[in-house]
């Protein structure tokens, strides 16, 4: 018998538990004090939570404004590496050059180290926690959004969901054909030295969202 079979057999042989679990599954509305199902409050909740995490939120009305905002963000932070995506292609012609599109693994580590900012899209924004959810297929791989010191996310207001359970439910409705997803809650941080908060431990020191208001 191999290790796998031995382990599984031991687990199956154990006597039944004394207090069998009854109803193991619940929902966010009944658990979290800051949960709101009022769609009109999600944006203001997201603004407050994201700001408290030291995130930078820029709200814009159209593609041209998005381009101007990104331009401002990139002053002193170039060159920039962008995800190959129709929305980003649409915004970027209005931005100065010095922008490359992420080619994937063929970009070597030393070349990658040159980039001062990354631009990607996201799958959804979580109002209750101020989080951004994205995955390796929809947001241009795993390295793009973690290596450069500034990560700019382009999102739309209709991507807001109230809480984590809705964000997860959105994924479960899809094929989930990605190998990696991440729930990002604020810029990279650590408190390992005397419990003092420091931003930019290993990942981006700055996390910005350019939020397009859906018209």
């Amino acid at each position: 018998m191999n290790s796998r079979e031995k382990i599984l057999q031991r687990l199956r042989q154990s006597s039944p538990l004394q207090n069998p679990a009854t109803s193991p599954f619940g929902n966010d509305a009944g658990i979290f004090a800051d949960y709101t199902d009022d769609e009109n409050k999600w944006l203001s909740q997201f603004r407050a939570k994201f700001a408290a995490l030291n995130g930078e939120l820029y709200e814009v009305g159209n593609i041209a404004e998005a381009g101007q905002q990104i331009q401002k963000l990139l002053s002193g932070a170039s060159p920039v590496l962008a995800q190959e995506h129709p929305l980003i292609r649409e915004i970027l012609p209005t931005v100065e050059p010095d922008t490359d599109f992420y080619p994937g693994l063929e970009l070597s580590a030393p070349e990658f180290a040159e980039y001062q900012a990354a631009i990607s899209v996201a799958d959804c924004l979580v109002a209750r926690t101020g989080s951004i959810v994205l995955n390796s297929r929809s947001a241009g791989g795993r390295r793009l959004s973690i290596l450069p010191p500034l990560h700019i996310v382009i999102a739309k207001t209709n991507q807001l969901v109230p809480s984590l359970s809705e964000a997860i439910a959105l994924y479960l409705k899809t094929k989930m054909d990605w190998s990696y997803a991440v729930i990002i809650t604020g810029p990279s941080r650590t408190s390992d030295i005397e419990k003092q908060l420091v931003l930019g431990a290993h990942g981006p020191k700055r996390l910005a969202i350019v939020l397009l208001h859906a018209s």
Partner: protein, 459 residues
């Protein structure tokens, strides 16, 4: 020196080390404030939430074998390889075979208590493989040649000045009294590791059975880099890390962040389904998951203690424990410290050698009160003591004393007589106490409470 004597010696030293005490108290005070605030702000009913989390984990323990098989087959479908290790030695062998297959000379590692449990760093170094710890706290203890002090905050016991000196000596950096500058030194130091390592090694916080994925939580981004850059990713996880469904994370992530660090959510919650999928831009080309048993399935056979396998390693019981706060993490000499360590270690490593950890508790129940998955920790410490006694680890003197005590306690008159004798005896004994210990015996009241009540009760 045996483990028990060593424990007593180190505990006595640490308990009188004022510098140490101040550092730990300060760190835990900051933690306590943040946790209290976050429980209040985030949860409608914290006790209800932890009860629910406990039930989900209980469900896992009841359906453990089935869920493990489900996890395995789902991960395989995504292209990951799942390997099973019954013991620490098997896990080490499996890892070395993987390293050999990929001709690995250098690994970058994120924080993982399971790799501490199997002593992966020592194994790698003995086999000529360089190990880079990427979590800031872990890097600090690695450079200092120490073991993690705390399962969540490994370098809790190091002051800024000590870290500055350490970095100066080991990394050749300029001394600094700024936490930010010190963090940036570590950042620069590790950037090379991510992009040159042959294998990225991580632990796991949760293994989701349906759909199969590995969840790992962090704040720094070092796990993201460790699992994104190297061409091979190896996960080493205890088999108890399972959760049935992805939806369960909606409760467990805020619960773990609140109990672990007083955050609403930690900075990055990574969900890893497998190696780079076809058509994706980057990611490792190979992913392995090593499932470690190492005593867990034996513990599951014990109907009273198996509830300890609910543990999600948040560290809350360490921070709440008056014993941990006094003797510190290193005195335990174990992978898992504090109350959960005192429950698990005697079970995993043998009661005869490790029962002193369960004995070193006042059974105050602070651990039970803070546990986010509702583990009755102090009752389990008591159960360990019972098992220890059953295996005759208790001294004859202690056993006889308890028998006499039982006789005294069974009769009010005998108890009163004993109290009188003790009150007199204590005063005499106080004079005999060696002066240099600094210990004093308080005076016992001349009356028992029962006697006082009889005289003073207003009818």
């Amino acid at each position: 020196m045996n483990t028990q004597k060593q424990f007593k010696k180190q505990s006595a030293e640490k308990a009188h080390d004022q510098q140490h005490l101040l550092k730990i108290r300060k760190a835990i005070r900051t933690y306590d404030e943040k946790v209290a605030e976050m429980k209040q702000a985030q949860f409608i009913d914290w006790p209800a939430a932890r009860k629910q989390a406990g039930q989900i984990k209980q469900y896992v323990l009841e359906n453990w074998a089935d869920l493990l098989e489900q996890f395995e087959s789902n991960m395989k479908e995504n292209g990951a390889e799942v390997l099973w290790a019954e013991t620490a030695e098997q896990a080490r062998q499996i890892f070395l075979e993987i390293a050999d297959r990929h001709k690995a000379k250098k690994i970058v590692k994120s924080k993982s208590m399971t790799t501490e449990e199997i002593e992966l760093n020592e194994t790698c170094e003995a086999n000529g493989i360089e190990v880079w710890e990427s979590d800031l706290g872990e890097l600090i203890v690695q450079l200092a040649g120490e073991k993690p002090y705390h399962i969540v905050t490994p370098a809790m016991h190091k002051s800024k000045a000590e870290i500055s000196k350490l970095f100066h000596e080991k990394l050749g950096s300029v001394e600094s009294d700024s936490a930010e500058e010190l963090t940036m030194i570590a950042r620069a130091h590790l950037r090379q590791a991510y992009v040159t390592a042959d294998i990225g090694v991580s632990g796991a916080n949760f293994l989701i059975a349906d759909p199969g994925l590995v969840h790992i939580t962090e704040n720094e981004g070092n796990i993201r880099l460790t699992t994104a850059c190297p061409p091979v990713h190896v996960v080493i996880a205890g088999i108890e890390k399972l959760l049935p469904r992805l939806e369960d994370l909606a409760l467990f992530l805020p619960l773990l962040a609140t109990s672990g660090t007083g955050q609403q959510l930690t900075g990055y919650n990574n969900l890893i389904r497998g190696p780079r999928a076809a058509g994706e831009a980057d990611g490792p080309r190979k992913m392995y998951v090593i499932l470690l048993d190492n005593g867990r399935s034996q513990l599951h056979a014990d109907p009273k203690l198996r509830i300890a396998l609910r543990c999600i390693r948040c560290g809350a019981c360490l921070n709440a424990c008056p014993v941990y706060k006094t003797i510190g993490g290193h005195s335990y000499q174990t992978t898992y410290q504090g109350p959960i360590g005192a429950v698990l270690t005697p079970q995993f490593r043998g009661i005869a050698e490790w029962h002193h950890l369960s004995d070193a508790s006042s059974l105050c129940g602070a651990c039970t009160q803070v546990c986010p998955v509702d583990i009755p920790l102090h009752e389990l410490l008591l159960e360990n003591r019972r098992q220890s006694d059953e295996q005759s680890n208790t001294s004859l003197f202690w056993k006889q004393s308890l028998k006499i005590w039982a006789v005294i306690m069974s009769d009010r008159g005998k108890l009163n007589a004993f109290h009188r004798a003790a009150a007199n005896g204590a005063e005499a004994a106080a004079l005999l106490l060696p002066h240099e210990t600094g210990k004093r015996i308080p005076k016992l009241a001349r009356q028992t409470f029962a006697q006082w009540w009889e005289e003073n009760e207003q009818s």
